[in-house]
């Protein structure tokens, strides 16, 4: 078995596990015992593939961005997750988890959301399957992301404001976990990233791994080689990066680059660069890297991008960082905004600010002329227009 796969105890090397109160044990244990059998069953695979194809619009294109390639002196391919239904990679995971929840006989779905992309993707699949949906969202994020709140409500979801702590993603996750504790029998919690207690990180990574599975095939067609020289993705909790890296983990010739949000600068005190600022700790059910005080209190992160504004990182990433299988870089708010504008002007694609962090990394790298570089364009920027307008004064 690959050293980058989760082991039987739910660990990636030193990271992972299931640090959950007893109240969540039956739910998490039920998932742990059943998730592999369910997602590997023929019926599940067939419905998952069919929905990804006919509903989400997969495979997402692998686009050779020529003007971007000229600028960086390499072949830059964009994996177009932004073209998925609901506008980001998040739907790959929510489709998988809703099919799993159905098979577990769950009647009620809960989720946390930051910018609202995962909340929208969850509300979408609940509408599709006719299941009750409750989305927890920080009170501050509800104000910042009104259009996504409206989308969720139109699809029949109840959006509940998390009013504790900093009133953002971390607090929304706390509220979702409290809901699950109070509703231990009929409810499934759709976590949106490769975080949480085992088996969530592995399960979400598997659902997102369609990104790199398709990329291998598409690269073979376009370049004659299944693997790129570089695969680059942004990391908050790390789900699109996990999906982009998954089928390249055991191809050591592929250099994996993850880009965290440096906010106003890694050392500015307003940052979300967990691999630099974090230490080993436990949050939301797994042992990983975590931004925290000496006393073990979680530190509030900051990024202009709500989707990267998380004080931890999935345990798979903590392990890839520790083993140096992947390189963890960072991009500031300014780097990302400039990279977002550049893509818009060179290619006519407005990226999500999250994905713009991955694009910003291209500016800092030097490539050989024939290098093939794949960047995961994890989401589209429609939701960020307000931010772009304010930043550039359009």
């Amino acid at each position: 078995m690959s050293k980058y796969q989760v082991n039987d105890n739910g660990y990636y090397g030193d990271f992972g596990g299931a640090y959950i109160p007893e109240m969540l044990y039956p739910n998490v244990e039920e998932l742990r015992q059943q998730y592999l059998a369910i997602i590997q069953s023929a019926g599940f695979q067939e419905e998952f593939d069919q929905l990804l194809r006919d509903y989400v619009g997969r495979p997402s294109p692998l686009y050779l961005a020529e003007r971007l390639s000229d600028r960086y002196g390499a072949n830059v391919f964009l994996k177009r997750e932004d073209l998925n239904h609901t506008g980001a990679h998040k739907i790959n995971n929510t489709i998988g988890q809703i099919l799993l929840a159905e098979r577990l006989g769950k009647k009620r779905i809960i989720a946390e959301t930051g910018a609202g992309q995962h909340g929208v993707a969850t509300a979408t699949v609940c509408a599709l399957k006719g299941l009750q949906c409750v989305v927890y969202m920080g009170a501050i994020d509800i104000q910042r992301q009104a259009p996504n709140v409206a989308r969720m409500k139109m699809m029949g979801a109840e959006v509940v404001a998390a009013t504790s702590g900093s009133k953002t993603l971390k607090d929304a996750t706390n509220e979702a976990m409290r809901d699950w504790i109070n509703n231990p029998v009929d409810t499934h919690y759709i976590i949106g990233s490769v975080v949480g207690p085992h088996p969530y990180p592995d399960m979400v990574a598997r659902f997102q791994s369609v990104i790199s599975a398709e990329t291998r095939k598409q690269l073979l067609e376009k370049t004659g080689r299944e693997t790129p020289d570089y695969a680059i993705a942004c990391v908050g909790g790390g789900s699109n990066a996990a999906g982009m890296f998954y089928h390249f983990l055991d191809s050591p010739e592929v250099k994996l680059v993850a880009v965290e949000a440096a906010g106003k600068g890694v050392e500015s005190g307003e940052s979300a660069a967990t691999t630099v600022l974090g230490r080993e700790g436990v949050l939301h059910g797994s042992r990983s890297l975590l931004m925290q005080t000496d006393d073990g209190q979680v530190v509030e992160p900051y990024s202009i991008s709500a989707g990267l504004d998380y004080p931890g990182i999935g345990p798979l990433h903590a392990w890839l960082h520790k083993t140096k299988r992947a390189t963890y870089a960072s991009a500031t708010d300014d780097d990302a905004m400039q990279a977002g504008l550049l893509l818009t002007q060179l290619e006519g694609i407005i990226p999500a600010i999250e994905s713009a962090h991955a694009l910003a990394q291209l500016e800092k790298m030097t490539f050989a002329a024939n290098d093939n570089v794949v960047v995961c364009l994890s989401g589209r920027g429609d939701k960020d227009l307000d931010n772009y307008m304010k930043y550039f004064g359009f």
């Binding site: 596990g17 044990y25 039956p26 706390n174 504790i181 700790g281 979680v298």
Partner: protein
């Protein structure tokens, strides 16, 4: 040190054991030991002192609030152990520390256990430290320092798992009245009755104490009809909001458990 808790249950006779939870450093940074002393005087049998965490997922609004205020007041594990230096000069009843695992990891598990033992803490309740991890990485060091780690049981916990918890426990077993965050009211239903009876019928080696949702005399009596004791948390923490709380501790305990002198 485990003797304090063992003796309590061994010698309790018909007594209904009452335990109180409160958060260290709340309402004021230095109120921790004064409250402990007042609770012992009021007749409480053992204490759970919470050390605050920024992300208390198993807690409802009241204990979330007390934790947040305690952190703002400057409470840390370092400060707490310093406050507890003279604990055993002032308080004789068993004391457990209750909190989340991350502050313990940062303090260092070994250092944490040493500090607990040094100040006379009898044991710990760490809800997000699951049994598997405890056995793998923590049990030896906890036992070396004579600490009794308490595990939770919910209505959904399987019999097999309860048996395992019984084997691993050295003080008591913490029965949650329902699967819930703290601060909800205990509602007596056929389900809770059959759950409590099921646990009683198992004839566990360890005493049982019911917590979560115990807030007044009726729920206290109901809980202790089914178990050796009961724990009151949120209802007491709410009382501490009152600026005059120090005069209200004794009457509060009196109305919960009037049999206490």
């Amino acid at each position: 040190m485990m003797n304090r808790i063992k003796n309590l249950f061994a010698n309790k006779g018909d007594k209904r054991i009452l335990s109180i939870y409160y958060t260290a450093g709340y309402p004021t940074l230095n109120s921790t030991v004064d409250i402990a002393e007042a609770l012992e005087k009021a007749g409480v049998d053992f204490l759970e002192i919470g050390f605050p965490y920024s992300d208390p997922v198993a807690d409802g609004p009241v204990i979330q609030h007390s934790s947040e205020m305690a952190l703002r007041n400057g409470m840390t594990l370092d400060v707490l152990f310093d406050q507890l230096k003279d604990l055993r000069k002032r308080v004789n009843i068993p004391v457990f520390l209750m909190g989340y695992v991350n502050p313990v990891l940062q303090y260092g598990v070994e250092n944490f256990c040493k500090a607990c033992a040094a100040v006379g803490v009898d044991g710990t309740i760490i809800p997000d430290l699951p049994m598997y991890e405890y056995e793998e990485q923590y049990q030896t060091v906890f036992e070396t320092h004579g600490l009794s780690n308490i595990f939770l049981v919910t209505p959904q916990t399987s019999e097999e798992r309860i048996r395992k918890i019984d084997r691993l426990s050295t003080g008591f077993i913490y029965l949650l009245s329902s699967s819930a965050t703290t601060g909800k009211n205990l509602t007596v239903s056929e389900n809770t009755e059959s759950y409590f009876s099921r646990i009683r019928a198992m004839e566990l080696d360890n005493p049982t104490v019911i917590g979560f949702g115990i807030s007044n005399h009726d729920t206290f009596v109901h809980a202790t009809d089914h178990a050796d004791g009961a724990i009151v948390g949120s209802a007491f923490v709410k009382l501490l909001d009152d600026p005059e709380y120090s005069t209200k501790i004794a009457p509060f305990i009196q109305q919960l458990s009037p049999s206490v002198p």
